[in-house]
């Protein structure tokens, strides 16, 4: 019987949300191709996380001192050994920063190419088509694997719905890869946070968020006025913070804050996935953008297609008037 093998990441011993999404994707893929599901995670087999992988018929705990801190060399070698043992048809990963770092190397070692950042799949004419975004979400591409198994896939955050973790009666088997300390060529340091946070975007009920459409630092007051009129906090996409126009603590997205306000008003933001993962949970999304095809409109509740330099002042005036 063929196997779909999914690799999960754990935080404090339990699988992360995006890992459970990848697990759900792997379960779907296994079901649609009549394969069995196998799951693997770094950690000790007695850890609590391994009991949450209900639905997998094989569970592996990758255990080795050299895997305690992530390194591309360590993970690549360990995962290659488990893949050689399991001989899966498909190998799935959550598309995290770690996976981005080592999975292309792992695929290359196996003579394959990772299909990265997949948002969905469908069976078509005897093969499986994988969807992924191109041009930062402005276009979708359909891919298929033309090489023999295994086919490696990483799954985008939020693309599959994670089921509530189910208890399993399958005990995790310890898999101890053979690793040499001398083969690990990088020494990772302890993770640290940049600056102390002084604004708490996550608890602000209303956010006005500004993107590169604002064009120049001198135009920031335009959106600040709208935020003030609404009683909202100001947030931003990454390029705005990179440029130093707003402090980094106001950045929303995968490398910034995750927010879920009642209202998220995106001004001149295109809607790249790294931004969307940080604000998709908002109750109401409003987008102002001059490009009617901007991906932000795919997730917006209300949209205004137009020049922000005209729409924003009009909106500020209308809000002031409504508030009296």
């Amino acid at each position: 019987m063929s196997t779909v093998l999914v690799f999960l990441e754990a935080k404090s011993g339990v699988p992360t949300r995006i890992s459970l999404e990848a697990f759900a994707a792997a379960a779907q893929l296994a079901a649609s191709s009549g394969a069995q599901l196998a799951a693997a995670m770094v950690g000790s087999a007695s850890g609590p996380g391994f009991a949450l992988l209900g639905g997998a018929s094989q569970i592996f705990a990758l255990e080795h001192l050299l895997l305690e801190h992530y390194t591309a060399d360590g993970y690549t070698a360990a995962y290659a050994q488990l893949i050689a043992r399991v001989q899966p048809d498909y190998v799935l990963f959550p598309h995290t920063y770690e996976v981005r770092d080592f999975a292309p190397r792992l695929a290359t070692r196996l003579g394959r190419v990772l299909i990265s950042d997949v948002t969905g799949f469908q069976a078509s004419a005897g093969q499986i088509l994988f969807m992924r975004q191109l041009f930062q979400g402005k276009l979708n591409g359909h891919y298929h694997a033309a090489s023999p198994a295994p086919c490696l896939i990483s799954v985008q955050a939020g693309a599959f719905r994670a089921d509530a973790p189910a208890a399993t009666s399958v005990p995790a088997a310890t898999f101890a890869p053979e690793l040499e300390a001398s083969a690990i060529r990088t020494q990772p340091g302890e993770p640290f946070r940049a600056a102390a946070q002084t604004v708490d975007l996550a608890s602000a009920p209303l956010l006005v968020s500004v993107g590169r459409g604002i064009k120049d630092e001198a135009n920031i007051p335009l959106v600040q006025e709208l935020a003030t009129a609404l009683g909202a906090e100001l947030a931003a996409s990454r390029p705005i913070c990179d440029a130093g126009w707003l402090p980094m603590e106001r950045q929303v997205g995968s490398s910034g804050q995750t927010v879920a306000p009642k209202l998220y008003l995106a001004v001149g933001i295109s809607g790249a996935i790294q931004h969307l993962v940080g604000m998709k949970g908002s109750q109401c999304v409003v987008a102002i953008n001059k490009d009617e095809n901007a991906p932000i409109f795919e997730i917006a509740d209300y949209g205004i297609v137009g020049d922000l330099f005209e729409v924003v002042p009009a909106l500020t005036a209308a809000v002031r008037k409504a508030k009296g």
């Binding site: 190397r105 290359t108 946070r193 917006a300």
Partner: protein
């Protein structure tokens, strides 16, 4: 230090996306091209390192004839020489194929450091650099913001999720994929543009590099995304659209 920087030419950020008649890629007529954003930051890091420690910066790009213009732009900004892998059919290669071409073209250079962008703005694979490192048998780190020389090699600053960072110490030769935004980019000076014309640009035919073009992964078709949500578009003049939105914010979203 000898540093190679891989730069890719991609469509302009605000380019209008239309699908070509075969449904396999976007129509490229009337499209302006530019250097991939994170590659521009990779080039900047390389130039800063050379200014601090000496050495040579070599830019590498694979693509059709028009890519030469992006290479010249990098030379004008200060790169010392360029390598152009010429191919009109690069889309026939997958990421492993493109990285194999690049590996074949630079293996003999024995660079200390190879920098690539984090990901290309068109394909967005985020893979080519990491694959290249494996093909060359050197170590790598991705999502890098800053590079410093250290006693034993280099120390780099890596971005993690949710606003976290870490340092990584590593030996050279190494490959780094560079994240956008950590520095200000320089402009080419008039002098630089003049000088660029005389700099060495090695042109290699892709076909001469002995790389198999049989891909593992194929892009079958492209399509415009469909809306997941039913977005209510508020139309009219800016004042009309603004008034409609305020009404929604009052009556439906109830935040005003």
């Amino acid at each position: 230090m000898k540093i190679i920087v891989a730069i890719k030419q991609v469509p302009e950020r605000d380019a209008r996306i239309r699908i070509d008649s075969a449904g396999k890629w976007i129509a490229l007529e009337d499209i302006e091209f530019r250097m991939n954003e994170s590659d521009a930051y990779a080039l900047e890091e390389a130039l800063l390192l050379r200014e601090a420690h000496g050495g040579e910066v070599v830019v590498l790009s694979a693509g059709p004839e028009r890519v030469g213009q992006t290479i010249r732009e990098a030379l004008a900004k200060g790169a010392d020489r360029g390598i152009h892998i010429v191919s009109d059919a690069l889309s026939g290669y997958d990421a492993l194929g493109v990285a194999s071409l690049m590996a074949a073209a630079i293996r003999d250079e024995a660079a200390d450091l190879i920098l690539t962008g984090l990901q290309s703005d068109d394909l967005g694979l985020g893979q080519t650099g990491v694959i290249l490192a494996e093909l060359l048998g050197i170590c790598h780190a991705s999502l890098i913001l800053k590079i410093e020389k250290s006693d034993s090699g280099i120390r780099v600053l890596r971005e993690l999720e949710d606003g976290w960072f870490q340092h990584i110490d590593m030996s050279t030769p190494a490959l780094l994929t560079i994240q956008s935004g950590n520095t200000k980019l320089r402009y080419a000076t008039l002098m630089g543009i003049k000088k660029a014309k005389t700099k060495d640009l090695r042109v290699v035919e892709a076909a001469a590099l002995g790389v198999s073009a049989t891909p593992c992964v194929l892009l079958d078709s492209v399509a415009l995304p469909s809306r997941q949500k039913t977005t209510q578009m508020l139309t009219g003049t800016p004042a009309e659209a603004a008034a409609k939105l305020v009404e929604k914010l009052q009556q439906e979203v109830r935040v005003l």
